[in-house]
Assembly symmetry: C5
Homo-oligomer: 309 residues x 5
Amino acid sequence: MIVYERPNALRLFFALRGSILPRIAPSLLTCTLLAVVVTLSHGVLFHWKITLTPVPFSLIGLALAIFLGFRNSTAYDRYWEARGLWGRMVQSSRTLARQWLSLVRPAEDSSAGRQAHGDFVRRCIAHAHMVRHQLRGSTPGPELDGLLDPQEIDAALRLRLPSEALLRRNAGLLGRALEEGRVAPALAAEIDRSLTELTQAHAGCERLRGTPIPFAYMLLLHRTAYLYCFLLPFGLIDQLGFMTPFVVAIVAYTFFGLDALGDEIEQPFGLSAHHLPLDALCRVIEIDLREALGEPAPPPLQAVDGCLR
Amino acid sequence: MIVYERPNALRLFFALRGSILPRIAPSLLTCTLLAVVVTLSHGVLFHWKITLTPVPFSLIGLALAIFLGFRNSTAYDRYWEARGLWGRMVQSSRTLARQWLSLVRPAEDSSAGRQAHGDFVRRCIAHAHMVRHQLRGSTPGPELDGLLDPQEIDAALRLRLPSEALLRRNAGLLGRALEEGRVAPALAAEIDRSLTELTQAHAGCERLRGTPIPFAYMLLLHRTAYLYCFLLPFGLIDQLGFMTPFVVAIVAYTFFGLDALGDEIEQPFGLSAHHLPLDALCRVIEIDLREALGEPAPPPLQAVDGCLR
Amino acid sequence: MIVYERPNALRLFFALRGSILPRIAPSLLTCTLLAVVVTLSHGVLFHWKITLTPVPFSLIGLALAIFLGFRNSTAYDRYWEARGLWGRMVQSSRTLARQWLSLVRPAEDSSAGRQAHGDFVRRCIAHAHMVRHQLRGSTPGPELDGLLDPQEIDAALRLRLPSEALLRRNAGLLGRALEEGRVAPALAAEIDRSLTELTQAHAGCERLRGTPIPFAYMLLLHRTAYLYCFLLPFGLIDQLGFMTPFVVAIVAYTFFGLDALGDEIEQPFGLSAHHLPLDALCRVIEIDLREALGEPAPPPLQAVDGCLR
Amino acid sequence: MIVYERPNALRLFFALRGSILPRIAPSLLTCTLLAVVVTLSHGVLFHWKITLTPVPFSLIGLALAIFLGFRNSTAYDRYWEARGLWGRMVQSSRTLARQWLSLVRPAEDSSAGRQAHGDFVRRCIAHAHMVRHQLRGSTPGPELDGLLDPQEIDAALRLRLPSEALLRRNAGLLGRALEEGRVAPALAAEIDRSLTELTQAHAGCERLRGTPIPFAYMLLLHRTAYLYCFLLPFGLIDQLGFMTPFVVAIVAYTFFGLDALGDEIEQPFGLSAHHLPLDALCRVIEIDLREALGEPAPPPLQAVDGCLR
Amino acid sequence: MIVYERPNALRLFFALRGSILPRIAPSLLTCTLLAVVVTLSHGVLFHWKITLTPVPFSLIGLALAIFLGFRNSTAYDRYWEARGLWGRMVQSSRTLARQWLSLVRPAEDSSAGRQAHGDFVRRCIAHAHMVRHQLRGSTPGPELDGLLDPQEIDAALRLRLPSEALLRRNAGLLGRALEEGRVAPALAAEIDRSLTELTQAHAGCERLRGTPIPFAYMLLLHRTAYLYCFLLPFGLIDQLGFMTPFVVAIVAYTFFGLDALGDEIEQPFGLSAHHLPLDALCRVIEIDLREALGEPAPPPLQAVDGCLR
């Protein structure tokens, strides 16, 4: 995610970092070059004058507006839903820590007992890291050291859903506390519900990751946008003359840019500059849960080159 | 569901797999042929010059844009709601497994007792398969073997809602555990709520399946779109000349394509390439619940010809 | 609700059943006739040439598009919300049956006791019928026989909300079971919540029924649409000549049709072909609850003339 | 709220009651008069011909469409949210009555004890009246007599939130019943949740009342709409001639009407004809809760002059 | 937040306070000046006639309408979500106070004991202040005196999330009450849920604060809007002549104004005139909770210069 202070209008105009421009440059250049050729040949292709006026473009524009508006809002809704799911992750981890520490008695009322009691909370930190790695398809690194027993990590990583194994382990701790009478059933039910919240948030992220916008939409949109932009110079040349390539470039920039941007943010769990800063969110969870444990917390992650990952 | 890696722009342009094009080819061809006829006759039909200009099309286009935009977003909303309901299915099955295994004591604390205890979880896997078959109108096959007693399958299949019978059976197990004091009432309430979640997810899918978008909408949209496209050549011929059929084909492609695509995805429980991959989702549930039981899990389903069913 | 197999394009084009056409025929004819008169008089009214061009219609069209789009989505949202509320009704009835039969012990453990125990579930079926009649303003018929004591029906029907009286009666049964220790409090709370769900679903339907879209919206929309369509021939005659009435008819068909359709489905509890099939949904509840009781269930309702009520 | 039977098209066209027309008459007249002046002077102002064409109006119309569409949907969403909150009020009051009467034992099992037991329910009726008065800024009248002790009313009215004091009092009754063992804790929790529902519904209404749509939106919309309508005659005069004032009046009617209507319904708790019928809703609550108590209920409120308040 | 009585149309037209005009004045002036230059030179730049017509602007306008509509609704949705989260804050604080005072017995049944019992409620007031300061990046001042022990404030302020420390402290009080049998577990679970509600509301605010609309959207929108407005004079000059700068100014006012307004309200926790009145909302919480404690309450905050902060 790009972290910015709103720059002034002029610098915003020429900013390249965080822009979608580099990604669409090839299509944009091709399209503009074609417009230059059409301008130089006055719309005549192989001795045929292509008789197009602006009218067809407003007709096709009707469908294109529906596609682009839909694409735009769908992609952003997915982005925002993903952020909301991670918000639930943050909030449920905090809630679990508060509930466990205030409503469940440690097995032993000693310093070591209280230390062991905190393992439940540390496993919540590990859970967030685990979910992040599952979503990004990466392998957990040293960030799990000190949070979990190496054996537990190994056992979990052999499964399809390592994060769920951690939740089951914590549920086991809860079940034990319940049997030993260290937590009342009604409150154990409440804690179990917070575990369910974590499962829900994670399942929601999986759903977003596994279900893109139907492929046929991409095709329809893509084809219509390209046909539109590549035919546009023929429709404008008689009215605009030498300004044609310039106008075509602007129109193509907005259409291709919108499409490419949607493509970026509809799968927001990656590592690109427009994706969600999962590293930073996991760090937030770590800080908050360490504070709840009364342990020293690491500092928040800082943006690198204006970008938080 | 079509699983794809975003191909480059050019290949995307000519892709046929996953395209809606084959489905709308007849209408599209008819429409284009008519445009060719109109072009050749210069808009004269039976010695009458049909005096249409682009103006009426922008007026009708107003209503058409509302219809198509509505159609589009409604169909997608249904698709996404259906996916969300199956997401709840996945998540609630996982939650039920975690709750049952961590919060309810087996009837007997022996190896056989623990094995029998797992039947609750296996029935959750069977439940997902059952719901899938009910939604697709198909008959359960060998995937239920080893999960349920053949007698139970037969009894369930004689009912209108076999899946609900499985839930009632699991509720019976819960009731017995409660009577025998193997689970605290507050936690049994929590588990019962997860059963209710499954009922809700299933009832939501039934609702989508049983209630299409009102038929009169289809009629209004269909008629307006067809009238629009079939009249279009008369409105364009005086301005565009020989380019008329080309423009008509593009416009008709976008309108008919949007309509046909909506038609596909608004009932997303089928077996077409644009429908939800229920087989794969049931497999995911099976893997996760087998892992929770500590049993060997089958591999995830793979896409066949780029398509996951 | 009209139940259809998607017919082919041509038959869809000429379908009358399920069309909104009959309802808007008078306005549509008036409008088209006026257009014919205007065409014949070349836009001259009482020796005054009405100087209108297409321009004003695109300006007014701006507001009209907002109105119609709003009307359309609001009406459909109401329709879909109503369907969702009945979906909750179906699901909560099923849940109540499961909960009552698996979590509450019968007062007597005899055949008669189990039979009496099922009265709770039968009253849930009666509740659905009662809500349906309240929403449609009709009187319950023989469908309640065998479900409820005639005296209870009479007493309930004397109240403003008979359905709520049934819920209170079931709540009384729950209270008694609780006092007699036949259900644990935490589970009684869970069952009470399902009763609340039924109250919520019903209250939601009442809300939809009692609160139409604000009347002033109807006026604004209605007036703008009629002014637009009745003035349209004056704006088109100079460009389109004899095609004017044809274009006016199409435009008026879409606008009036959209308005009339919204009018139909925004109050979806009636008996028209576009309303929700409450009879069929009540039958679904009856089947599912009879199956839960292990009693023989009636067959599902079938569509009559392609229409399910 | 205006209660209507859909009148026929013609009468709907000339209806004044429930129309927004009287409210916007001054602006509409000014605007039309200006258009008449412009028409008579052929667009020449102080010997300068104002050179405007329809083009700028379609450009400005772009932003105006966004503003008006946003305004419209936001205002209606607020209206509908307010109605939904009152729906929760109705439903939660019913639920509270059912829960209290079926799940909590009276302090004394005598006729007087049962009468006193009903005070909880009567206070729920008073709560609805209280919330209504708080939202409308009015003072409770005789409708509270017989529901609450005059002393309790006086004490409550001295606070900023009298309604919340009633809820606290009912919570006190619940706390007492809990201490005396007349209700199980799990069910007291359920009843407490219904009290929370009432707090939520009320807080939601307060939120709507206290937070209008940001003022700057009003300014932007208002200025753009007025500039648009006042400049419009200059843009149309060359094309439309003597029809200009007529077209300007229609356009201004739709724009000003939409704005004024939004203004009315975005704060829906007042007493105008377009506001929510809070009196009638409180009466509904009173009837339903009296029926639950088995007491005689007042009749429902009737519309006065077609308007329910 | 600007608090207004709807002024009459004329005064609304010239209002400056609460207008977005001052903020966009530089861009607006630059744009208008350019239009004046273009008008004086008749669209000739460095001896080249820039051949633009209105057509390109309606094509670019297509994408611009999507951007601006999206920008507008997204920004407002964030504003409204933020307000809703603070509504939950208000409501949950009230609920917590009601629950604590009616369902938990004080540790000692003496005047001092009841006084100490109220600390839980006072900490809820402090929590709201703390959240406000965290969101605004400001330091708590004397408003916490009398609510919390100075030591507790100091300890909390040393953490990243001081507000969460207060909730944990209250959760500790709840845990103690539970151990001492002063509250039933089922009701403690209910109170714990209200604490979770506060965590959720706060986490939601943090999410809004930490996740702006993706930066690339800002770039696309900003560039398109500026290109549009700066090129516009060239497209209008041939048709509109000396009216060009006037029309350009209006168009630019609406586009830049919409953009700037979105920029203001999408981060609604600041101190500008368009932001949420967090001070006033905290005061509301303080009043309601003091009333619940039966203590004298401060007066509500009043708007200063028509603006509530």
